[in-house]
């Protein structure tokens, strides 16, 4: 699952590519740098130093080993095994109110791209609902859809498609 961490890091540190390249771009393009999504990624955990922080990191690291919910074709339904997995995350979120997690929804490559943004969003919201029922709060959860734009694996067979139909839980702090 290290690949997902790398993905997260890449995502946080990316800013408008063209703004730095061309003098012609207006200041508007870069205003997202201070936006809610990116900024919280740089925020330091309020838990302070020492053992509390170490425990937090340790628990989070364990959770990151099992942080992907997979879905059937054209479905946003969460199966029993994933429900169990999400319970681990929601109890962590409930006992760490400052923890923030992004729910990144994805689809396989089939069909139209913008409709897939909708399907990815539906999957993220489905995970969000479960986590909230299980004890996480709305402030802790951000819903994002990448549609088919960020596949986990390449390939056009059902095995690849099944791995790409997913929601990744990505901790922001």
């Amino acid at each position: 699952m290290n690949g997902f961490k790398l993905l997260l890091i890449a995502m946080i540190f990316v800013v408008a590519g063209c703004a730095s390249k061309k003098g012609t771009t207006t200041g508007d393009g870069a205003d997202g740098m201070g936006g809610a999504d990116g900024a919280s990624a740089y925020g330091t955990s309020a838990d302070g130093e020492g053992s509390a922080n170490a425990l937090y990191e340790q628990q989070k690291a364990a959770l990151m080993n099992d942080n992907v919910v997979f879905f059937a074709f054209d479905s946003a339904e969460i199966d029993a095994a994933s429900m169990e997995m999400l319970k681990q995350h929601s109890s962590f979120l409930a006992s760490n109110p400052n923890a923030r997690v992004r729910l990144e929804g994805h689809t396989d490559e089939r069909g139209s791209r913008e409709y897939n943004i909708g399907l990815g969003e539906r999957r993220s919201v489905s995970v969000q609902s479960v986590l909230m029922v299980q004890g996480a709060t709305a402030e802790q959860l951000a819903v994002i859809s990448f549609g088919e734009e960020r596949p986990a694996v390449l390939g056009s067979d059902e095995a690849a498609h099944a791995q790409n139909r997913r929601v990744e839980l990505v901790y922001e702090n």
């Binding site: 990116g38 409709y115 969003e121 919201v125 960020r150």
Partner: protein, 434 residues
């Protein structure tokens, strides 16, 4: 000689855009049209110092071949290469079944301008059909050649040509799971590609403003989908929608004053909105619990087609752009998505699930008749050429994204591919101003 007129060539310089030297597009005809008219575009004469600066005739011939309606005669088959009307021996051309012949000359003018004079003849009757002079500087010769092709195409078919138009698309370079995304604008033949935006995060859904001066698109550069509008000439851009959740699928109204787009507003449910660009006033058009996205304006701007899965799978609906009740448009098949309206408003192009394969279909709106026009397994993002004759769409070949153009009846097709990386999400720009 009343057909011989002088016309100033419009100059349409795109300043502030970097050129894309590598990853040039190559074009390959993958499906031919048997009824294409044989046309000879004879190499143009050159009256000036040194060697001829530009092979105008070969660009004109390629442009005409790409329309699918003409089949250029190979230079090696030409029995003569006239550059003036007096030199043409029509029997030579009848012998090789040529129906139309184009001849011309490029004359160097004082001050560096070139005067391109060309004439088009009906071989059977031995009559001139068209004659023009086009003036261009050395840098504008390719553009002038496209202009000439469009004049010829329009004279011979009655349909305005698209050789002088542009396309936008998204290119992916580098590591395939963590690529660099580039938003690119190129001439319709894939040449002259320029990068508008480069990002390590996905770029989606480029859409042309009706005047061809701006693109709206979706960029994830700030961690989520947001809608931007960028001027082609200056590169200046504005973020027009960065609301919570999904901001996606932008498309310009025919008057250029509004964008229809899709928002989730953080509640996880996508709906269609119209954003007045000057005032930033936002109007909600749909409010259903299903996915509503991929809006496309009718030609008169009075209604919008869009995708909704309120009936289960995605289908196309139509709603008045001022709001009101929607009507379902597609009924054939379980999956019809991403509508684009033809320039005459009579058809919509969609992504259609054809026995398990995602293909481009053209739906006759009045007759509710669906015709599948492509043969791939994951074809998507259809866009009509501004003359309605062809569509450009994205598909995969050898596991990589390529673009293809196909005639509206599906009979003629050609592929645009890059030497490296992949390309997707084409959008065909409007006619340039005459």
């Amino acid at each position: 000689m009343n057909l011989l007129r002088t016309r100033a060539l419009w100059l349409f310089l795109l300043l502030g855009l970097s050129t894309l030297a590598r990853a040039e597009l190559t074009i390959q005809i993958t499906k031919g049209e048997g009824s294409a008219v044989p046309i000879a575009v004879v190499p143009f004469g050159w009256q000036g110092a040194g060697a001829a600066p530009y092979d105008v005739a070969s660009v004109v011939a390629s442009d005409l071949a790409r329309t699918g309606r003409f089949k250029p005669v190979p230079e090696k088959d030409m029995l003569q290469k006239p550059t003036t009307a007096a030199e043409i021996q029509f029997q030579n051309w009848r012998m090789i079944d040529t129906e139309v012949i184009v001849i011309g000359q490029v004359k160097q003018q004082p001050g560096g301008q070139n005067l391109i004079e060309f004439r088009v003849f009906d071989v059977l009757r031995g009559e001139q059909l068209l004659g023009y002079q086009v003036s261009s500087d050395a840098a504008g010769m390719r553009r002038a050649a496209h202009r000439i092709s469009d004049l010829i195409f329009e004279k011979l078919t009655g349909i305005r040509g698209v050789a002088s138009t542009q396309i936008a698309y998204v290119a992916l370079i580098g590591d395939r799971l963590k690529p660099t995304y580039k938003l690119i604008v190129a001439d319709a033949d894939g040449e002259n590609a320029r990068v508008l935006l480069e990002s390590r995060q996905p770029i989606m859904s480029p859409a042309w403003s009706p005047d061809g001066r701006k693109l709206a698109y979706v960029s994830f550069e700030n961690g989520q989908s947001q809608v931007f509008v960028q001027e082609l000439r200056t590169g200046a851009r504005r973020r027009v929608s960065a609301r919570m959740g999904v901001n996606s699928a932008p498309i310009w109204s025919p008057d250029g004053q509004r964008l229809a787009l899709t928002l989730s507003k953080g509640d996880g449910n996508l709906d269609i909105y119209v954003l007045e660009l000057n005032s930033q006033v936002l109007t909600r058009l749909t409010n259903w619990s299903s996915i509503e996205t991929e809006p496309s304006w009718s030609v008169d701007g009075k209604s919008l087609y869009f995708t909704s899965d309120r009936s289960g799978g995605p289908q196309i609906y139509r709603i008045p752009s001022s709001g009101g009740s929607p009507a379902r448009v597609t009924f054939e098949g379980k999956y019809n998505a991403r509508p684009r309206v033809s320039p005459d408003g009579s058809k919509i192009a969609v992504v259609h699930n054809d026995r398990g394969n995602y293909r481009i279909a053209v739906v006759d709106v009045a007759r509710a008749y669906t015709q599948v026009i492509t043969e791939g397994s994951d074809d998507e993002s259809p866009a009509f050429a501004p003359n309605g004759e062809m569509l450009i769409y994205a598909s995969t070949a050898g596991g990589r994204g390529v673009l293809s153009t196909v005639s509206v009846d599906g009979r003629f097709e050609q592929r645009l591919a890059t030497s490296s990386g992949e390309i997707r999400e084409p959008a065909w720009g409007p006619f340039p101003n005459k």
